[in-house]
Amino acid sequence: MKRKLTISAIVLAIVALLAGYDAYRATQYRIALLSMDPQRAPADGQSPVALRFKVTDASGQPAKGHSLYALPKGGGILSASRVVTDEAGEALYTYYPYKASDLQPAKDVQIKVIDESNSVFNEINAKTTVTVPLVQPERSAKSNHNLDDIFGE
């Protein structure tokens, strides 16, 4: 019994140590939103929003080659959910809002960005969340493609 407890304690200590290491590493990186264009996006289902993020280390130096993973909360879709930072530590995301309607009125969307690369043992990551303000579109936006052509009509 005592031996089991000892082993369990050792395992827990190791897990805590590894988690602590990753938690420490997570504090060593920072994800910041550099730009969002446009600042207020029409919820028309077509117009893209460009979001540029920058990852820096504890000394403020750009973190190159970090894999960022993003999730929109509240609707809409990203052209890619994972983007790798460039030489300048920057990553560009393209977000497409949903189309506002009576069933889903325009409202702000949260985009959560996680730095997957700073976690070694556990999933404890540096992260940030930004708000994309969505507004009711003034005019409808259409795709570059025509459904009638596709239908052959």
Binding site: Y69, S119, F121, S143, H145, G152
Partner: protein
């Protein structure tokens, strides 16, 4: 490096506990894993509070079933709303449009309760779905609205005819004279959506954004080797030879294909239609530009697909055999290619276009990937195939991805349920509702005029696409003979029987299946 992902493991343990205790399990656009007790009412997972008809609606809905309570069980296959309503890194797929649509419908019709058929084994093969439906129909618990790949189970007499309903107005769309007017003409007579009398038995909801399936390929690998992804069937084998020499798995079949069988995607999309198209001057008896089931049956009885007699039929089978003998790696039947794919060891992987969003979110993949249409067979392989036509840009008259039937055995003695099912299908096909679905999913097209095209498809639709012939190469017409034909094909591929025996046997089985089908469906063959 070994990562001890304790957070994920705790979540998995928690999820397992929930499933074990019979609570709602995870469901998504892929495999649903709920248990029999998990046909949850739509309102249990509601997140939106839609309160009004879509913009432009003024016709106004009629009261359903005289206001009597109706519970409508609905199967939207891969388009059912997810149980999880917030994306997380562990479970990033969230799909809620259909929930919002159902909520709005229930708000309009408070006496109708929509329940999702979450026990359906979504992601399984057609014979497994047939088994599930058979059990559910026997028990009277099958969903009134369901997905069965259009008219795939026509011989089972499961489908409620929808021609009359499609001739009535869709009350949820302003100024609509006939529900069928919402759809492009080609879909109303699509060979996968009509019965043998050419009456619609399935309503198209969304379409593939081109071909139904594609080859997902390792872009980085192809670039590093200085080769292009294959444009036709022959190029695929050329690429495969080099890839094999370099130590890669050149090609992996769709994950659910684990047996040597006919009718798999290589036959459906790369080989069969192009051999069948070369025969269309003979098989398209009514000259309407497509070869439907009855015409295929008639051509079979006329011996046009007889491999014992025709070299072109033998060549069709030989090309299907090639995939097993030249392309697939040893041990493919017992291999899960997910990890080798993520690790960059698999050059090309067959997958549905519906998996685009999931692949975009695949955190395990270590390279950039691209998607190409399944490469068609051309005259560079065989002179027996029709010339492949290509669009200048974008797909042309793509096939239905999601089409929905009303199950006759479930509604035949329940007019209230039938009325509710038709009303919900009409509501689902309001262009704004279809737009909401395709914009959220991102990789499909709406089946109704005026629906939106997802912006994520912009680049994809700039490609030129092979135009799929509206004809296919038949196997057997009944399940029983289908099993027998597959067995013969497997023996032939494994070298357990010779060419002559296989070709003779395949014809014998095909003829028997055609006779059985004609008898079962009471088909009038006068004039054949």
């Amino acid at each position: 490096m070994l990562k001890f992902k304790w957070q994920s493991q705790i979540l998995m343990l928690a999820a397992s506990a929930l499933v074990a205790s019979g609570c709602s399990g995870a469901a998504g656009n892929s495999d649903a894993t709920a248990t029999a007790s998990q046909i949850a009412t739509a309102s249990q997972t509601a997140t939106g509070s839609a309160t009004a008809l879509p913009e432009g609606t003024d016709a106004g809905p009629k009261e359903i079933a005289g206001g009597r309570p109706v519970t409508l069980t609905v199967d939207l296959h891969g388009w059912m709303p997810t149980v999880n309503t917030e994306p997380t890194a562990e479970n990033p797929t969230v799909f809620l449009s259909t929930q919002k649509i159902a909520d709005a419908f229930m708000k309009l019709h408070p006496n109708v309760k929509i329940a999702w058929a979450r026990t359906k084994p979504v992601g399984k093969l057609q014979n497994e779905i047939a088994e599930w439906l058979t059990t559910q129909i026997s028990a009277g618990t099958a969903p009134a609205i369901t997905f069965t790949w259009g008219n795939n189970y026509l011989d089972r007499d499961w489908y409620e005819p929808l021609g009359d309903a499609l001739s009535t107005p869709d009350e949820y769309v302003s100024g609509n004279a006939k529900w069928s007017d919402l759809f492009p003409d080609y879909l109303m007579k699509h060979r996968s959506l009509v019965d043998n009398s050419k009456q619609p038995v399935a309503v198209p909801i969304v379409l593939y954004s081109g071909p139904a399936t594609g080859y997902y390929y390792n872009k980085d690998l192809f670039e590093s080797l200085g080769i292009s992804p294959p444009k036709d069937w022959e190029e695929m084998f050329t690429d495969a030879k080099l890839l094999k020499e370099k130590g890669y798995v050149p090609f992996a079949q769709w994950g659910n294909f684990k047996q040597i069988e006919l009718g798999q995607w290589n036959q459906q999309f790369s080989v069969g239609p192009f051999f069948a198209a070369a025969l269309m001057d003979k098989t398209d008896y009514d000259k309407d530009g497509q070869v439907d089931t009855l015409e295929t049956l008639r051509a079979t009885k006329a011996g046009l697909f007889n491999a014992a007699e025709h070299d072109y039929a033998q060549e069709m089978y030989r090309q299907l055999k090639r995939m097993y003998t030249e392309l697939l790696p040893a041990g493919w039947q017992n291999t899960d290619f997910s990890k080798p794919w993520n690790d960059g060891k698999v050059a090309m992987r067959e997958e549905g276009l519906w998996a685009l969003q999931a692949e975009n979110g695949n955190k395990q993949r270590k390279f950039n990937y691209g998607v190409i249409p399944a490469p068609p067979i051309t005259k560079s392989t065989s002179l027996d195939v029709a010339d492949v036509q290509y669009t200048e840009k974008g797909p042309y008259q793509p096939d239905p991805d999601l089409s929905l039937n009303i199950l006759k055995p479930i509604v035949k003695d329940n007019p209230d349920l039938k009325e509710a099912a038709i009303a919900f299908l009409k509501y689902l096909t309001v262009p704004e509702n279809i737009s909401m679905m395709v914009l959220e999913q991102g990789a499909s097209l709406g089946a109704v005029k005026g629906s939106e095209i997802p912006p994520l498809l912009d680049d994809w639709m700039n490609n030129s696409f092979p135009i799929m012939p509206k004809a296919s190469w038949p196997n057997a017409f009944t399940d029983e003979q289908g099993i027998a034909l597959n067995k013969q094909f497997e023996m032939w591929v494994k070298g357990e029987t010779d060419d002559a025996k296989f070709f003779a046997k395949s014809n014998e089985i095909q003829q028997k299946s055609a006779d059985d089908y004609i008898k079962k469906m009471n088909i009038d063959t006068t004039g054949w």
